[in-house]
């Protein structure tokens, strides 16, 4: 039963990923094309999910937006996991003052009001960047700032490994610290890192969506799930045209699928 659910989730994810990658072929129109005579149009043959407030085809924007969110969120998750792996494993392995310092830094990092900090950081970045670059910057920021939570888990995992018998044996055989860390500790942290990577993806998708709701994040005219979700601000318009819920539906679906395919043993690792 569990396997069926996982297979189904993997199938849905594969479908959504494929559709987003084939957005150029599947989209009825360009994502930025404004049909100015049809703003806020209801679903029709020409516009299967209707149009947004500027007359842009909602289906096309959803497909391109999925590409943006689904490709860059894993990239940001990879960056965050790498940083967490390096910092968490080093701190956990060294122990003592370096570990305490790293733990304090992680706690401090997690206690900062990131939303406000992101707004400030975004304001200090160069203005004249193309929407594509702004997109890269947004996810790079998310990735660079998202290391602390997984780093705590990695540090705890490394600390548990540090005093294990096989590490003691390796140390007794004269194994150098760098070799110990790379050849013995890190391979044993793989399940932890893998779990942190998969958990981070939906977190970053939602973070980008939050930034989009604040009018930050991915710049016009590029769509992302974040800026598509802004259409939900107007609840009466949502009632009038429930197709506006499509990005929310897709976001929930994808996050649910990510949770379903996560290997359970990774959580307990």
């Amino acid at each position: 039963m569990k396997n069926t659910a996982r297979h189904l989730a993997a199938g849905i994810l594969a479908l959504v990923f494929s559709a987003s990658l084939l957005a150029g072929l599947l989209s009825p129109a360009r994502y930025d094309q404004q049909f100015r005579d049809f703003p806020n149009a209801s679903p029709s043959r020409q516009f299967p999910l209707g149009t947004d407030e500027l007359g842009r085809d909602r289906l096309s924007r959803l497909l391109y937006g999925s590409r943006v969110s689904l490709l860059l969120a894993p990239a940001a998750a990879l960056l965050a996991t790498l940083l967490a792996g390096v910092l968490g494993a080093t701190a956990g392995y060294l122990g003592g003052s370096p570990e305490r310092l790293a733990a304090a830094s992680m706690d401090l990092f997690l206690s900062l009001p990131w939303l406000f900090l992101l707004v400030t950081v975004r304001a200090t970045l160069p203005l004249n960047v193309s929407p594509l670059v702004s997109l890269g910057i947004t996810f790079l920021l998310l990735g660079a700032l998202g290391w602390a939570a997984p780093a705590r888990v990695v540090r705890a995992g490394t600390a548990a490994l540090r005093d294990s018998e096989f590490i003691l044996a390796a140390r007794a055989c004269g194994c150098r610290s760098s070799r110990l860390l790379l050849r013995h500790v890190l391979p044993n942290l793989k399940p932890v890192l893998s779990a942190q990577f998969w958990i981070s993806i939906p977190v970053f998708i939602v973070s980008e969506a939050n930034l989009g709701l604040l009018g930050l994040g991915v710049a016009e005219p590029l769509p992302s799930w974040g800026n598509l979700l802004r259409e939900l601000e107007n609840y009466q318009a949502v009632l009038a045209n429930p197709c506006r819920l499509a990005p929310l539906f897709l976001l929930v679906l994808v996050m649910g699928c990510f949770q379903a395919i996560l290997p359970r043993e990774d959580f307990t690792a």
Partner: protein
């Protein structure tokens, strides 16, 4: 109200919520009728200007009392004017009357003459903003001559105003106004919640309604959605022309080129912005002054239709070339710039996205950047780290003298290039001259002649591209009577003393 009033002192008002309270609780000598835009007698029954606009004599109304019962006399007006002009008080209104000491001569209880050191353009109109304080009342600024008085203030929640029992206005039958016993001013930032409460009958008047909400309301209750027509509020785009701005030299050259600015202006489909973003509740801007400003608008100016082909020709004449869908300048630099606007204003973000699309056929790449408001202000007023800016301009005063801080090249609010030591362009020097001339002249027609020229120069040089003028939209409960929304503030309750509930 969108926010808490910053002050209850009528002479220190700078924000809109405080202005609302002032309007409802204070009395003035002369009132600008918000519908006819004519001056009408209030606490002064008549007035006469002399000495070329340096002097004004008022004949005051008899038998008027402040809300606490203290009698109103010429001494109160003299006290108010002296308080307002006192540099220690730092009243923002004092600037409008010009520098220097003011001489006030009181002759009897109902007559006084005010003499200013220099002529003041549109002198009578300025008294629409001067709330009269009581010289004798122990409550000072809390004793008012307006139709209501502040009875309760719950910070962050609401203000309750109650009827002034001593208000001087009466209806024809002799009944004392106002009709309403009290007014509750709710502090409500969220527009959706505001509309929801209006639908439930918990709010009866909403000013400055968003076109989207207005359209929804009109579909539900047509009588409640009231459009007073084109207002004084505009959307504008300007390029950074500050010489010391940290921009690439070639970009400074573009932004300082009249043909470049005019071409951008010509490429923008203003009619589409009105139709798509403002749901038809706006008009393409013919110039920097709204047609809603009946006297000062230059009627010779018409909204220029969009013409991308002509815009491209203009750019080519300036040395730009369209190559493979990308516009390049003489040195081969691709024409790409960013426009900043404040985040959270959906309509403005939509306008930016439409301009981005309109400039595409010219080969111009426009990057839209939304910033939080403090960061945006920092960039446009201090460090000048921006290329173009899209913002709204809210004009609350009809007279051009109130806009000196916008038009003069030395002014701090001269958006495209503020605080110039001397005008950096010939046309700015000409605008400076014309604005000073209109401020020094007394005859209205002569002043209008000067200001018409200013508007023509602004359209020709396009330092700030005027996009659209928005309509003044309001929600008015069908239960209320005598509400006639106006384009000037306060839109729906300018005649508050005559508003009442239908029985």
């Amino acid at each position: 109200m969108r926010a808490e009033p910053k002050t209850f002192h009528p002479l220190l008002v700078t924000d809109e919520p405080s202005e609302t309270v002032r309007y409802l609780t204070s009395g003035v000598l002369i009132r600008l009728n918000r519908v006819t835009q004519e001056l009408e007698p209030e606490l002064a029954v008549s007035w006469k200007t002399a000495s070329g606009g340096r002097q004004i004599t008022f004949q005051l109304r008899d038998g008027v009392s402040f809300s606490d019962g203290a009698p109103f006399s010429a001494e109160d007006v003299a006290f108010t004017l002296r308080a307002m002009m006192d540099p220690n008080l730092r009243s923002p209104m004092a600037d409008s009357f010009g520098p220097g000491p003011v001489r006030v001569e009181v002759s009897g209880t109902a007559r006084l003459t005010v003499t200013f050191p220099a002529p003041v353009a549109g002198l009578e109109r300025l008294f629409d903003q001067v709330s009269i304080l009581s010289a004798q009342s122990p409550k000072k600024e809390m004793a008012g001559l307006g139709p209501f008085l502040v009875a309760e203030h719950q910070p962050g929640s609401h203000l309750r105003l109650t009827r002034n029992p001593n208000y001087w206005k009466r209806e024809a039958s002799g009944r004392r106004l106002p009709y309403l016993d009290s007014i509750r001013l709710d502090i409500q930032q969220n527009r959706e919640t505001e509309m929801l409460r209006f639908r439930r009958g918990q709010i009866h008047l909403i000013n400055n309604l968003d076109p989207e909400l207005f359209e929804r309301l009109a579909a539900e209750t047509a009588a409640a959605a009231q459009d007073a027509g084109v207002s004084l509020e505009s959307e504008q785009l300007w390029f950074n022309q500050v010489a010391r701005a940290p921009l690439a030299a070639h970009k400074k050259t573009w932004f300082r080129s009249r043909n470049f600015r005019a071409a951008v202006s010509q490429a923008i489909q203003r009619q589409d912005i009105c139709h798509v973003v403002f749901r038809g509740r706006a008009m393409p801007a013919p110039g920097p002054v709204s047609p809603a400003n009946r006297f000062w608008f230059n009627a010779a100016l018409k909204p220029a239709p969009s013409n991308p082909a002509e815009a491209l020709r203009r750019l080519q004449a300036e040395g730009f070339e369209l190559q493979a869908g990308l516009l390049r300048d003489r040195q081969g630099n691709p024409v790409e710039f960013s426009v900043i606007t404040n985040s959270g204003n959906r309509n403005r973000e939509r306008v930016a996205a439409m301009i981005q699309q309109d400039l595409k056929p010219l080969g111009i790449r426009l990057n839209v950047v939304t910033l939080d408001f403090p960061s945006l202000l920092e960039r446009i007023t201090r460090n000048f780290q921006y290329e173009a800016c899209l913002l709204g301009l809210v004009n609350v005063d009809l007279d051009p003298s109130a806009q000196m801080n916008f038009w003069l090249s030395s002014a701090s609010n001269h958006p495209w290039n503020p605080n110039q030591k001397s005008p950096e362009t010939l046309w700015e020097a000409e605008i400076d001259r014309l604005m000073r001339a209109q401020a020094a002249a007394v005859e209205p027609q002569k002043r209008k002649g000067y200001f018409d020229e200013v508007q023509q120069i602004a359209v020709r040089e396009a330092p700030s591209i005027d996009l659209v003028f928005k309509n003044a939209l309001a929600a008015v409960s069908p239960a209320l009577r005598n509400v006639t929304p106006a384009v000037l503030r306060p839109q729906t309750y300018w005649n508050v003393e005559r508003i009442y509930f239908a029985k």
